[in-house]
């Protein structure tokens, strides 16, 4: 499935993008999406680690 992801604050600054699209497996969770972002942007993976899920 396609997921539209918006990045704000430190994540936007470190990744250099404010919006992106992810292709994830059906049934993927928010944690999967965050892990994928961490893989794509080494600069944000440290922040992704402690990210609060609302």
């Amino acid at each position: 499935m396609k997921v539209r992801l918006r990045m704000f604050a430190i994540l936007r600054e470190r990744s250099g993008v404010s919006e992106m699209e992810l292709e994830l497996a059906e049934g993927a969770t928010v944690a999967d999406a965050i892990e994928e972002v961490g893989k794509r942007f080494a600069s944000v993976s440290a922040c992704c680690h402690g990210l609060q899920l609302l």
């Binding site: 918006r6 704000f8 604050a9 430190i10 936007r12 600054e13 609060q52």
Partner: protein, 146 residues
């Protein structure tokens, strides 16, 4: 502004206190209570001075959260009119970043409603702030909490 006259918005321009007071004026409002949060000056141990704060928000979500809080406050207290504004962009030291004003029949209701709204806004809204320091450095503070 909604049908009851509530103003709940993010603003990229300076907050107008007099306009907010005028907006909550109501014949049934015996009390007008306001909370203003401003950028506080700060000096770090290494001598860096804070110049200002830069606010960034997921605007659609933050405004929806603010409207939900306004609804919740209206369920709890007999609010006549309500204004809830939060700045985005750069806010210099001494300048207001958040303004909450309510008119209610009696003062205790107004104080309580303002306290509730600012506490919830700070802990829930998708608004982030960055400290801008005099030496050119900056620090993201994360979710607005303090």
């Amino acid at each position: 502004m909604d049908e009851r006259g509530d103003v709940v918005e993010l603003r990229s321009s300076p907050l107008d206190v007099a306009a907010a007071v005028a907006a909550v004026g109501d014949a049934d409002g015996g009390a007008i209570a306001m909370f203003l949060g401003a950028t506080r000056q700060e000096t770090r141990e290494d001598g860096r001075k804070l110049l200002g704060l830069e606010y960034e928000a997921y605007c659609e979500m933050a405004e929806a959260q603010m409207r939900r809080l306004a609804e919740e406050a209206r369920r709890r207290w007999p609010i006549c009119r309500l204004v809830m504004l939060h700045r985005i962009g750069r806010v210099e030291v001494g300048q207001p970043s958040v303004l909450i004003a309510v008119s209610t029949p009696h003062r205790a209701q107004g104080f309580e409603a303002c306290r509730f709204l600012i506490d919830q806004l700070k802990s829930e809204a998708t608004i982030w702030k960055k400290e801008i320091w005099g030496d050119g450095s900056s620090t993201w503070v994360g979710m607005v909490r303090d």
